[in-house]
């Protein structure tokens, strides 16, 4: 089972994404901020990261920069943002995100992205 880390400070959002991903048979773990996410990734790298931008302690950009700076197997990251700033998209890619989605992400859309990034085919 592929492991996905949801990094978001909002419990509701984590729950929301968790339910989507678990229905598609992914093993989901959660982190409430960038620091916690980084600790988890260092312990055991994930197959995909779902990253919020605004978080306390270490935000999404910071987390991705740190993650990409580690000597680890690197996995794709989806950055999830509110529509607030158009500039975020570019910043996200520079920091190391691979996909940039805008909240709220519909379940089927999220799953499409996740499956493509992980190379999982619908069967």
């Amino acid at each position: 089972m592929k492991r996905i880390l949801i990094v978001d400070d909002a419990a509701t959002v984590r729950l929301y994404h968790r339910e989507i991903l678990e229905t598609a048979n992914y093993a989901v773990e959660e982190a409430m901020n960038g620091i916690e996410a980084l600790e988890k990734a260092l312990q055991s790298p994930f197959d995909l990261y779902l990253v919020d931008i605004n978080m306390p302690k270490l935000d999404g950009y910071g987390f991705l920069r740190e993650l990409r700076g580690q000597d680890l197997p690197q996995a794709p990251a989806i950055m999830i943002s509110t529509e607030a700033q158009a500039n975020d998209e570019q910043r996200a890619y520079i920091a190391g995100a691979n996909i940039y989605l805008i909240k709220p992400v519909k379940p089927d859309r999220l799953l499409t992205q996740v499956r493509l990034l992980l190379g999982d085919v619908y069967r």
Partner: protein
């Protein structure tokens, strides 16, 4: 989905259904005021609920519906079929939003248009009818008008003539400086609705609170009428604002009035608008020539110096001085923007407004920066601003991709991911984390490969990808991977072409690079694997349910619990027959042993029955937190809206009580809290002046006290002014002059609970419209609760609600009169006394007696029930008097005799008996007989 939202949705459904039913009933009885009132309440409450969440589209529609129903209820608008249709449409829309919220956990973002349209049609009904009730024959035209009105959207284009020149230069410079520091400027035109004051809005306050406000002005919408004809409560003000806050923040701030607000990005250079007297001053030609030269040679320091010198020579009121000030500021803020500087220098030489349209203003800012797209009028600075359409990553256009159905959605998503990785690899920065970024992009591409190529082609392609990745990492640049990608399919090739190629089965060797050459015979172009038929769409809700294994709690229909409750009631009664049976076994049949056995079994059954009853009660118990949990958000929103600072303290949330009690608590608490926020807690500045902390404290505390749950609502606000209350109560005719004179402060404070008393003349969506504290008292009364209000001026208000833990069991006293037994609920019983016949007097045809110095009127229960029999006295010629409480007074009921008190399960009267108000209900007794329980208030 969170419990609060879940609660909201299920309640919303009930309301929507209720609204639908009421509307249907109204078709048959359009003049039924009670029905109308009920309908209004449903819409009103639903609107209130929706306001707890961020669903402005929903709230907006419900708000319009509520206003309309309010107008109908007050006879300002006539009820009509068309009106019902409009309202039903609106409710369908709300229902649709609820479904969407339930399915996706959030509401889609595409409903603003529909909501505005619905609001318009609801408001139109009101406006058209305000002149007078409409007749059926005009409905056709009205319908047509509504339809045409519905297609009109609020003007999307922004008006071109922004009165920027009105803004003082200092404010414009300040905003310009801000914009130079990276903030986007926005111009807001806020046109509050004429009725907004009635909705409790304060548009001025809202405007003043605009985030990052740089400047604002207020204008009259029309010339003012003569004072004698003026309506102070019809809002005729417009607000113009200049702010440096991002659009999202502004939309959030104005989200409740989005339909009344236009927000347009404002290029900062539009603010560079020299003003002043254009005549006089030194000769400028030389300066302009020099300035052009200095600008051309890049000597900005020299240019600034020259401008400074010129400025000293010029009268500051002159146009040229203003232009020079701007020049100096621009040199400071954006010296690199030569084109803009040149425009200003040109304008200086011509003594005419700068022609900003000749350059693109948004050049140095972010992608969101705006451009001037139309030549401006040179003299007044008019222009049209439009947001730039540029998007850094054009392929990531999910909305468009989704529109083409699942298969093509996946293809588009795949193309988008590949295109994005291409962008990422093409980034030219060189951060420390670049290797990680390259690896991640490679990982993303590997995923795409796996879903899009035939299994036998995969290994080769993966090797190629790995090789390119290694190369890229060695170079510390994405170039090698980019080259590999380009080799897979040219950057311009879109996916449908790739699919076409796949269909042809053609494998084009030219598409591969040297890196890939050896795999060229086995590779296939990237193409998506189409999802299996019929399974393309994932039903989130269903799958989510499937995934929940062994839930810890069950959702049970209330009716099932009620049935259990009834059954245990019958069980308790049925088991009570066993002692009778035991008695009979012994007395009639003489089998003592059997009698003992029966008694033994009775004890067991009794214990089980009691435990079972307790367990069922437990099922119905809910924590107070169910009601409390909505308050943090409510208090936050309301206090923000009112500009107050409030700390909410919740205590004892785990305290439990019966479901009915908890549910009955919701509305009263809401009213009380809103009252506290509206009228209790003062504005921060007022509090500071009074020597209190700026933030008020509102405490909600629940605790169990023996068999009651006590809820305390306490604030440290300004308290209640008893004199003001007295005056108001007198003015409203609730008390007479004599009462006004003698009434004490505490009594006066309690007048707020009197029906028809509402301290707020102002109708707001916070304290509701004319729904005052009397509603609180009624609701608390209904569940046999009591409430006590104390208040200290300047120190705060303390309100305590005491409610029974459970309503299921009623404690009654049994009395006998005319040979029949009746139950009287114990909460209305004060005492039982026996009064000698001699102590009973007749005062004005009524019986009365004196108990402890107070005159207590006496009524015969036989008389009240229409039984033509005199009360029986006992052997000592004393009459049995049951003293009951009726409001604040005591009344004695003459009965024949008292019996025991008993816990019973009260069943409301049904069928034809339901119409007899004298009885609160009936209960089955242990011997199988039926006890009628009197409704004391009704019979007296």
């Amino acid at each position: 989905m969170n419990p609060l939202l879940e609660q909201f949705l299920s309640e919303a459904r009930d309301f929507l259904q209720g609204i639908g039913e009421k509307l249907m009933q109204l078709e048959n009885a359009p003049d039924d005021a009670a029905l109308m009132g009920e309908l209004f309440r449903l819409v009103h409450t639903l609107k209130g609920n929706s306001g707890l969440f961020d669903f402005p589209e929903m709230t907006r529609v419900l708000h319009a519906g509520e206003d309309l129903m309010d107008a109908v209820r007050n006879g300002r608008v006539a009820y009509s079929r068309l009106l019902a249709d409009c309202l039903l449409d609106a409710m369908d829309f709300v229902g649709m939003l609820c479904n969407e919220i339930e399915a996706n956990g959030a509401m889609g973002v595409t409903h603003a248009g529909t909501s505005v349209r619905l609001v318009e049609s609801l408001r139109q009904l009101m406006e058209r009818d305000a002149a007078g009730p409409r007749h059926a024959d005009t409905i056709e035209t009205a319908e047509a008008e509504t339809a045409s009105g519905a297609t009109e959207h609020p003007s999307a284009s922004f008006r071109a003539d922004l009165p920027l020149a009105v803004i003082p230069e200092a404010a414009r410079m300040d905003a310009y400086r801000h914009a130079g520091a990276g903030h986007l400027l926005h111009w807001i035109a806020y046109t509050p609705s004429e009725q907004c004051f009635y909705q409790g809005e304060d548009p001025f306050f809202l405007a003043r609170q605009t985030p990052e406000l740089r400047w604002g002005c207020i204008e009259a919408r029309d010339p003012w009428p003569p004072l004698a004809e003026m309506d102070a409560y019809c809002c005729l003000l417009d607000f113009c604002l200049l702010t440096a806050a991002p659009r999202a923040e502004l939309e959030e701030h104005y989200r409740y009035v989005m339909d009344q607000v236009e927000i347009a990005p404002l290029p900062r250079l539009a603010l560079v608008l020299p003003q002043g007297d254009s005549n006089g001053g030194p000769v400028y030609d030389d300066f302009a020539t020099d300035a052009r030269h200095l600008l051309a040679t890049g000597d900005l320091v020299g240019l600034a110096r020259n401008a400074g010198t010129m400025l000293e020579l010029s009268n500051p009121d002159l146009w040229i001085a203003s232009a020079l000030r701007w020049l100096r500021l621009m040199l400071e803020i954006e010296p690199e923007n030569r084109a803009a500087l040149a425009v200003l220098v040109e304008s200086l030489s011509r003594l005419a407004a700068p022609d900003w349209a000749s350059i693109q203003i948004g050049t140095t800012g972010s992608a969101e920066h705006s451009e001037i797209t139309r030549p401006s009028q040179p003299d007044d600075g008019q222009f049209v601003a439009t947001a730039s359409e540029s998007r850094p990553m054009e392929p990531i256009n999910q909305g468009q991709a989704m529109a083409n159905g699942p298969a093509s959605a996946e293809a588009d998503a795949l193309a988008a991911i590949v295109a994005t990785q291409r962008e990422i690899l093409a980034l030219t920065d060189d951060p420390a984390w670049l290797p990680g970024r390259i690896k991640a992009a490679a990982a993303a591409l590997a995923g795409c490969l796996r879903v899009s190529v035939a299994p036998d082609a995969l290994p080769g392609l993966e090797t190629g990808l790995d090789a390119a990745t290694t190369l890229a990492l060695a170079d510390n640049s994405g170039a090698a991977l980019l080259a590999w990608l380009d080799g897979q399919f040219s950057p311009s090739l879109d996916l449908s072409d790739a699919e076409g190629a796949a269909a042809d089965g053609s494998v084009n060797a030219e598409e591969t690079t040297a890196t890939m050459a050896r795999e060229s015979t086995t590779q296939a172009p990237l193409a998506p694997t189409p999802p299996p038929e019929g399974d393309g769409e994932i039903k989130f809700g269903r799958r989510a349910e499937d995934a929940i294994a062994g839930p810890k709690s069950l959702k049970v229909d209330q009716a099932k619990i009620d049935r259990l409750m009834n059954l245990i009631g019958e069980m308790v009664v049925a088991k009570n027959a066993l002692p009778y049976l035991a008695g009979r076994a012994e007395a009639v049949f003489g089998v003592r042993e059997l009698s003992r056995d029966i008694k033994g079994h009775y004890a067991v059954i009794n214990r089980i029955a009691e435990e079972m009853q307790d367990a069922i009660m437990q099922v119905r118990m809910m924590p107070v937190s169910f009601v409390f949990q909505r308050f943090p958000r409510l208090v936050r929103d309301i206090s923000r809206k009112l500009g107050k600072e409030v700390n909410l303290v919740l205590e004892g949330e785990e305290t439990e009580a019966d479901k009915n009690i908890i549910e009955a608590l919701g509305d009263p608490l809401m009213h009380i809290v809103r009252n506290s926020l509206d009228h209790g807690i003062e504005l921060p500045e007022v509090r500071r002046v009074a020597g209190k902390p700026a933030a008020g404290t509102l405490t909600l505390r629940a605790a169990q006290e023996s068999d009651r749950v006590v809820i305390v609502i306490q604030d440290d606000g300004k308290g209640i002014d008893p004199d003001a209350i007295k005056r108001k109560a007198y003015a409203k005719g609730l008390i007479d002059e004599a009462t006004l004179e003698r009434i004490g402060d505490q009594e006066a404070v309690n007048l707020v609970f009197a029906a028809g008393f509402s301290t707020a003349e102002q109708v707001s969506d916070l304290s509701g419209r004319g729904v005052g504290m009397d509603v609180v008292r009624t609701a608390v009364d209904k569940v046999n609760g009591t409430l006590a209000l104390t208040s200290e001026r300047g120190r705060g208000t303390h309100l305590s609600l005491s409610l029974p833990l459970s309503m299921a069991v009623t404690n009654v006293m049994i009395v006998v009169s005319d040979g029949q037994r009746f139950g009287i609920p114990m909460d209305s019983v004060v005492e039982t006394v026996r009064v000698p016949r001699a102590a009973i007097r007749t005062i004005k045809h009524s019986l009365a007696t004196v108990l402890r110095g107070r005159i207590v009127p006496l009524k015969s229960i036989n008389g009240l029930l229409g039984l033509d029999v005199a009360p029986k006295a006992n052997a000592d010629d004393e009459l049995a008097v049951l003293v009951v409480r009726l409001g604040n007074e005591a009344v004695g009921l003459l009965v024949d005799d008292f019996r025991e008190t008993l816990d019973i399960i009260l069943k409301p009267m049904t069928g034809v008996l339901a119409g007899i108000p004298a009885y609160a209900g009936s209960a089955l007794m242990g011997d199988g007989s039926v006890l009628m329980v009197l409704n004391v208030k009704e019979i007296l």
